[in-house]
């Protein structure tokens, strides 16, 4: 039987804003982001780290937030889909997904955008093979990946990279 009520205070910076909360020690990071903070753009699709719907960028690395406990994010700097657009301007990738019909139901899209953002930050001109490797941890059931690959490729070829820097900003 799991002991209830073990809690821990954590401080996490998400999309430039710092949050301090007391969480149950066993709470998943994705539930902390979604339920505790109300940032519901990050989704849950599998519980086993297989689908990538919960992908976020944490301390500069692409991670699946269902594979971490909230306390493990103590002190972390996190980016989620809500942080991609700035002042109402979509990021180049967001625009490209929209313009190339890179999404249908939109459920995998936030995780896919985070994976693509991470990919292009580290490899601004990926080949199709590299794009496919970059999103292999993110499952989409609607698109057969064709237009997702197109959307990412268009940004990579378009030299209009505005991938952000992931650094926490003052609030």
């Amino acid at each position: 039987m799991i002991t209830q009520s073990a809690t821990q205070a954590i401080e996490v910076t998400i999309n430039g804003k710092t949050y301090r909360r007391v969480v149950e020690s066993r709470q998943l990071l994705v539930h902390f982001i979604r339920d505790t903070l109300g940032l519901t753009g990050t989704h849950i699709g599998c519980d086993t780290g297989s689908c990538g719907a919960c992908s976020i960028i944490m301390n500069g690395k692409l991670v699946k937030s269902c594979m971490l406990l909230a306390p493990q994010a103590d002190g972390a700097v996190i980016e989620t889909v809500e942080g991609l657009a700035h002042d109402g301007e979509l990021s180049a990738l967001q625009e490209s997904f929209r313009d190339h019909h890179g999404l249908q139901c939109g459920y995998c899209t936030p995780g896919m955008l985070m994976a693509a953002t991470y990919l292009l930050r580290n490899n601004p001109s990926p080949s199709e093979e590299e794009i496919r490797r970059g999103i292999k941890g993110n499952i989409c059931r609607c698109t057969g990946y064709v237009n997702i690959v197109r959307s990412i490729k268009a940004v990579a070829d378009g030299a209009q990279l505005d991938m952000g820097d992931g650094v926490a900003k003052e609030v």
Partner: protein
């Protein structure tokens, strides 16, 4: 013809019509920013979290359930068991099946027995997800395990354990479909090709968003509010109402964004009913988010079908006269939409071919496995796969080129409208041209040369396969009477409301519950053309709300029909609204109705553009200034226009199993080039193409996306995804670790092109599309077949893992049974 442009335009420039333009979708700005509203994003004040307790056994008697340890846990609000749920219900769920299976009683939770691993026994409500899950583990249930049956053919045998004693049989439905004279054809054909067994495997399209709901049974008002991602909510309401004793108008169903469904979100109404009862018992709202293992164990699987004793009469010139077979459809432990699958396949009885003599002895059987319900390509793709395997096997055994054999037997362009042996009418198409285009797109000539160069025995082999398939759309629900003549169903339709709001805003709402198909965009395109405004000026309500949206009993998003039924309804509603605006505008301008027209949100004189009144002015006159109108106009005009589109169907002849079962037939030809590793059996796709013909395309980008998606799911099913049960009925793939969903590395680039053969039967020339008819399964299997030697076994299963392909590659050497034989009455071919 090269890969066609999909017609996308980056900006919304003025065009002749919005219909036919691949404009970016209205849905996407919110979805790319993580601002969609999916089911787990919803909640209600005071809600508890629900967790279902599910059976670890495939078949067992429930001896006892002790919930007291769970109730003792802090934070637990309530526990509901099967017996208690039954006591709160009026009657079991509505049964579609006639005869013995009509006695099957299904309740919101299992009562007395569990019938598959994952059957829900109880449901817990607690203050947090974690506490609900902890409490569920504390419930003590004693089971008395029973033998399980996990094979659809064995289930029909008298020795098989019976799942539902009240039915006394596992055969949920049997029907013989017999057209032409197959016995005559088999006696008189030049060749008879006999295939022992073909098996279409069990898989699911597993949307990344699993099922879910927030349910509140408000005892004071009697209203049961259900936010859910069910894709056919009013169908769920019709099933749940009599069981729960709730009139339809006391339900309040709603959905917003739905994270994929593919048919698999039709079958979970028992869960919704259990949650409603739990809410009633606990006196608070209930939130349930299905987790992935729960989804794979218990939500929905696709139909698994075994075909036995297939006999195919063929003439010396290659004309295929028809076929006969016995089909066993394994529908799992409960009948959630079944046995409707027992007739749905017959919409495409002869596939793409002019087969005249067909006999199918069809049984739907109950097994100790997850219940099936529609899954993209529902029931037709299984049958179309059978036909495509038949055609390729005939070609191989008799020495015909599979391409030429198809072209010889295809329904030809001049044959449309083509009546099939069971009275279905294929509306339009050009299959031979589609096939040529697919071969060119996949560069078949190049690969055929490479295949010859490479040969066999050098480690890798190349195979080329095509799949010809149909995506039948807009069901005639009268076909349900072929299953059960007592069912009061026929026809089909969809509802829409077009409205001018108080300040002249154009709003459209629909009876549908889309899951990525872009209804907001296509509905806006169609309405924009009729009202002569930009689609940006047409707001289409997101999702479905029972209280606000118009609906009929068939409403929902399923079965390849929105372009016909949904947009047919939007067209009708928008035309009514246009008429009303013109009428009020003409009155305001002192002109007659035929002297005015609509232009960019203004009603304007055709002769004098200076005379005009904007939509806001029209709305003002009707809503807030109506004393200036004539009494006749006040009586006539509401600016809220409902229209129900209904297709021109008749009730089928149930004795002959004959009638027009669907309005439209989109076609797809898939072509696939594979490389097979002789050492491992690994299959790699080297090139892939699909040519789609769905009549007039409302939004070509959306159509192309649907083609990609259906092909992707089919490829993944053919090579990677399979639900297998061990002999005790344990699912071997209960998470995404074991159930290998196709990734971006597994699914190749898919080239597409199209033909537009407008349907003569629909208001806009469009045909429903999106399911794809399992084209990828046909093409991949046929391509694998193409890598095998003449003395190897035939590809007998729709799922071909490395191991299975390796076995096939070695089957000739091992002198394994080939699974096929030929009786020839003439020499040569």
């Amino acid at each position: 013809m090269s890969a066609a442009s999909n017609g996308r335009t980056a900006t919304r420039e003025r065009v002749t019509t919005w219909t036919g333009q691949g404009i970016p979708r209205k849905e996407d700005d919110r979805l790319v920013q993580g601002e969609g509203s999916f089911i787990d994003d919803m909640g209600m004040q005071g809600q508890g979290y629900a967790w279902f307790v599910r059976s670890p056994h495939a078949h067992a008697r429930i001896v006892s359930i002790d919930v007291s340890p769970a109730l003792a846990l802090d934070g637990v609000y309530a526990v509901l068991t099967g017996e208690e749920a039954k006591s709160m219900c009026q009657e079991p769920f509505f049964r579609i099946a006639p005869g013995a299976a009509s006695h099957i009683e299904e309740w919101p939770l299992a009562v007395g027995k569990v019938r598959y691993q994952g059957d829900a026994v109880a449901v817990v409500l607690a203050d947090t997800r974690e506490n609900a899950r902890d409490a569920a583990e504390l419930i003590e249930i004693e089971y008395d395990p029973l033998p399980a049956v996990v094979d659809g053919v064995e289930a029909a045998e008298s020795s098989a354990p019976i799942l539902h004693e009240e039915a006394g049989t596992n055969v949920a439905w049997n029907g013989v479909f017999n057209y032409g004279d197959i016995d005559w054809a088999l006696e008189n054909a030049d060749h008879v090709v006999k295939i022992d067994r073909l098996h279409f495997h069990r898989f699911s399209s597993t949307p990344i968003e699993a099922a879910g709901a927030v349910v509140d049974w408000d005892v004071g008002s009697g209203v049961v509010t259900i936010h859910t991602n069910h894709q056919m909510p009013m169908f769920a309401a019709m099933f749940m109402g009599p069981t729960l004793g709730v009139p339809i108008n006391k339900f309040s169903f709603s959905s917003r964004d739905i994270g994929g469904a593919f048919g698999t979100k039709i079958g979970f109404y028992p869960q919704l009913a259990a949650l409603a009862l739990l809410s009633k018992k606990a006196g608070r709202p209930v939130k349930w988010t299905e987790y992935r293992t729960e989804n794979l164990l218990s939500s929905t699987h696709g139909n698994e079908r075994t075909f036995l004793d297939i006999e195919v009469p063929v003439m010396a010139d290659g004309t295929i006269l028809g076929f006969k077979t016995r089909a066993y459809d394994d529908v799992g432990a409960y009948l959630h939409y079944e046995p409707l699958g027992g007739v749905i396949w017959s919409q495409v009885l002869p596939g793409c071919y002019k087969l005249k003599h067909i006999k199918v002895d069809y049984s739907a059987t109950l097994t100790n496995k997850c219940p099936v319900s529609p899954n993209r390509g529902y029931s037709r793709m299984q049958h179309l796969w059978l036909i495509e395997r038949i055609v390729d096997t005939v070609a191989r055994e008799l020495g015909f080129d599979p391409i030429e054999l198809r072209k010889l037997n295809f329904v030809q362009p001049e044959d449309y409208p083509y009546e099939t042996p069971n009275g279905c009418v294929y509306d339009s198409g050009d299959l031979p041209r589609s096939l040529d285009m697919a071969l060119e797109l996949v560069e078949a000539d190049y690969w055929r040369a490479r295949q010859k160069e490479l040969g066999k025995g050098k480690g890798k082999r190349i195979g080329i396969g095509v799949g010809s398939t149909l995506d039948s759309g807009t069901n005639n629900f009268g076909q349900a009477r072929i299953i059960n003549p007592e069912l009061p169903f026929s026809g089909n339709g969809e509802a829409a409301i077009a409205k001018l709001d108080l300040y002249g805003e154009v709003n459209v709402n629909l009876g549908t519950s889309p899951q990525g198909q872009g209804h907001e965009t296509t509905a806006a395109q169609v309405a924009a053309d009729i009202l002569n405004v930009s689609p940006d000026k047409v707001t289409v309500s997101i999702g479905f709300e029972q209280a606000n949206n118009s609906y009929i009993g068939f409403s929902g998003t399923y079965a390849s029909q929105f372009a016909v039924t949904g947009l047919g309804a939007v067209m009708g509603a928008a035309q009514k609204l246009r008429d009303e605006i013109l009428e009020v505008g003409a009155y305001a301008l002192g002109l007659s109705k035929d002297e005015v027209e609509l232009s960019d949100g203004v009603c304007v004189s055709k002769n004098d553009p200076s005379k005009s009144i904007p939509f806001i002015g029209i709305a003002n006159l009707v809503y807030t200034n109506n004393a200036v109108l004539t009494p006749e106009l006040r009586e006539k005009v509401s600016l809220t226009c409902r229209y129900v589109y209904t297709p021109p169907f008749q009730v089928p002849d149930t004795d002959r199993k004959w009638g027009n079962l669907t309005l439209t037939y989109a076609s797809q030809i898939h072509a696939c080039v594979v490389e097979v590793d002789e050492e491992t059996g690994e299959v790699k796709i080297l090139a892939y193409a699909a040519v789609d013909d769905c009549g007039r395309r409302i939004n070509p980008a959306i159509v192309e996306g649907q083609v990609h998606g259906a092909a992707g799911l089919g490829i993944a099913a053919a090579l990677y995804e399979s639900f297998d049960y061990d002999e005790d009925g344990q699912l071997m793939q209960p998470s995404f670790y074991e159930y290998h969903v196709g990734t971006a590395l597994d699914i190749p680039h898919i080239r597409t092109s199209y033909i537009e053969s407008p349907s003569p039967f629909t208001p806009n020339g469009a045909k429903g599309m999106g399911e794809g008819g399992g084209g990828a399964l046909h093409a991949v299997c046929n391509a694998i077949q193409d890598t095998l030697d003449k003395d190897d076994a035939i590809v007998y299963d729709s799922h071909n893992s490395w191991e299975r392909v390796y076995d096939l590659l070695k089957s000739g050497e091992r002198q394994a049974p080939r699974g096929v034989s030929v009786l020839s009455r003439v020499s040569g071919s």
